[in-house]
Amino acid sequence: MQLRLEKRPEPSKVLRVVTPIGAVLLTMVLGAIIFTALGYDGVGAVREIFVSPLVNSYKWQDLAVKAAPLIIIAVGLAISYRANVWNIGAEGQYIVGAIAGTGIGILTNDMTGWWIMPAMMIAGAAGGAAYAAVPAFLKVRFSVNEILTTLMLSYASVYLLNYLLAGPYKSPTSMGQPQTALFSADQSLPYLIPGTIVQLNVPIAIVVALAVWLLFSRFVFGFQIRVVGAAPHAARYGGFSANRTVWMAMLISGGLAGFAGILEAMGPVGRLILQFPANYGFTAIIVAFLGRLHPLGAILAGIMIAITAVGGEMAQIGIKLPFAAVGIFQAMMLFLILASDVLVRYRVKAVRPGEVAA
């Protein structure tokens, strides 16, 4: 008996939705087995990482705070990947967005006014988009591979942050600490529910995902991006410009990553510090795929990955599981979701040896 793949005429809609759930469940089962084999408490690890954050209601606000930047970045990446533009440097665009927005923040630190917060947010998105414009330009003008340039620039952005915090951005009252001044009340995101850590960035993340979803299902540009990604030749006949798609995909994904960066600085962190880069830009790649490159999927996937991150912190304290274990669980989820893609696109048929497949 042999297994054989047969292409479906149309990718299965049902399986597209069901397989991510299956991937998560299978990750839990395989994870328990693998971590037990590695000499850890496998079942305990899965319980802490996947279940504990959900059953402890006081952890829900942590989930919301961790999911918000992941969702915003992943929505942008989903658009980019659908267009076959591989922006994997969202981490850098996130950092540069925060740097640009904080620049406005430093200039307006002593001022008051309702306009300061939107100005910082716009600067953040613009900063992220500008940093993504470099690989976009290099790809369009010199056909330089964007995978490598976006990634190299995200390594470089960490040094830019370190440099600014050591000099131009350093707060005069920080007593030598490499950090900016705390944002003022007019520069900080308001708390949504008093007594919690949930700030305005959480509803913003949901609104971003919904807005992008509406834009993409209703307007020509969304159609264009999907066509260019799925069938570049057909797109060229249809008169869609591949270059314009690269620009749009990079600017949107970079802009959203930068936006997420400044929201994080104005919200949970409250200033720029050396520890600001928290890998959200890379983790959002997993979120984008787990959400099946769909804006609404990104919301659910963002919450799912936030669960593993919060659960990982709990497991670190609770059962002394190293935090790195979370990375393994997340990688397994990504592997399984990619593997399950085959079920969406192909039918698996059992063929007896010797028998000729139709």
Binding site: I88, V144, I147, M152, L160, G327, I328, V342
Partner: protein, 308 residues
């Protein structure tokens, strides 16, 4: 600047270039077969952590390097199964492999953190390298010579053997290669495993030659530079050699620039970011030449599903 210092710099450039060269040689063969594996960084980390573990437990360097190659090659099989057997997206699967390697190495390496690893020395008797001039030839750790040998071996394999011809055929036109009867998927599996083994040995270079201990993310993005180098070299082994030593020079230059007052005009962070910025610049320069664009294997990154 005296001769001693120049020679010390040359020796450290060779050491810095070797892991990039090894990883890039492996990826070159993988890409020649038409597969793009972005998991190099992750496989290098797996190789590095296995090397630390085996060296600290057994003290046997050779065994450590072999285990590193096997472990990384094994991890590349996950990538192979997904992309070749299940025709999953190669870019995303490669990224997943890097995430897995980062997580696995951090977890597995925890008991070995900040324990000093005995470094590997030149295989030649020390009398040969006593004179500074001769040290340029005889004063390197064995992996430096191994990498140089592999440049010749990979060139010879791809250009002078029948098997190499098949690898290139599979990468240039998978459909024709399949219809002549070559096992496209099988060839690609072997190429991916070779790439994994080379990335594992590249990872072994870090604890054995460069920073003799385990810390998380020990390879600091060198795997990605190796990927860029393959493009830079237009998929040619000898140009890869030149490129790797150029990057080795950049990295040593960074250390030198940080400690030398003449370079304080620009902040030290600039010099630290320079290898990454130079990679971008080099990619632009290479694309200005027409051949840089056209020399990529025609089937690179495209999944192959056998029909009939």
């Amino acid at each position: 600047m005296n001769a001693e210092l120049v020679i010390a710099i040359i020796v450290s450039i060779a050491a810095a270039a070797t892991p990039i060269l090894l990883a890039a040689l492996g990826e070159l063969v993988v890409e020649k077969s038409g597969v793009l594996n972005l998991g190099v960084e992750g496989m290098m980390l797996i190789g590095a952590v296995i090397t630390v573990a085996v060296t600290l437990t057994t003290g046997n360097h050779l065994l450590a390097i072999v285990c590193a190659a096997l472990a990384a090659s094994l991890s590349s099989l996950i990538f192979g199964f997904l992309t070749l057997t299940l025709s999953a997206n190669q870019v995303a699967t490669g990224l997943a492999l890097t995430i897995l390697g980062t997580g696995f190495s951090a977890l597995f390496g925890q008991p070995y953190t900040v324990k000093s690893v005995p470094i590997i020395r030149s295989p030649f008797p020390p009398e040969l390298a006593a004179d500074p001039i001769w040290r340029v030839i005889f004063g390197h750790p064995p992996l430096v010579y191994f990498a140089l040998l592999m440049v010749v071996a990979v060139w010879w394999f791809l250009n002078r053997t029948r098997a190499g011809l098949i690898v290139r055929a599979v990468g240039e036109n998978d459909l024709s290669a399949h219809s002549i009867g070559y096992p496209v998927i099988g060839v690609r599996y072997l190429a991916v495993m070779f790439g994994g083994a080379m990335a594992g040995i590249a990872g072994a270079c870090f604890p054995l030659m460069l920073t003799p201990q385990w810390v998380e993310r020990l390879t600091t993005g060198r795997g990605w530079i190796a990927l860029a180098l393959v493009v830079f070299a237009a998929w040619r082994p000898f140009r890869l050699l030149a490129g790797a030593y150029f990057f080795g020079f950049m990295m040593i230059f960074e250390i030198y620039a940080k400690s030398n007052s003449a370079f304080r005009v620009l902040p030290s962070e600039f010099w630290a970011a320079l290898p990454y910025l130079a990679t971008v610049l080099v990619l632009v320069l290479i694309s200005l030449r027409r051949e840089g664009r056209t020399s990529a294997p025609a089937c690179l990154g495209k999944p192959f599903v056998a029909t009939g």
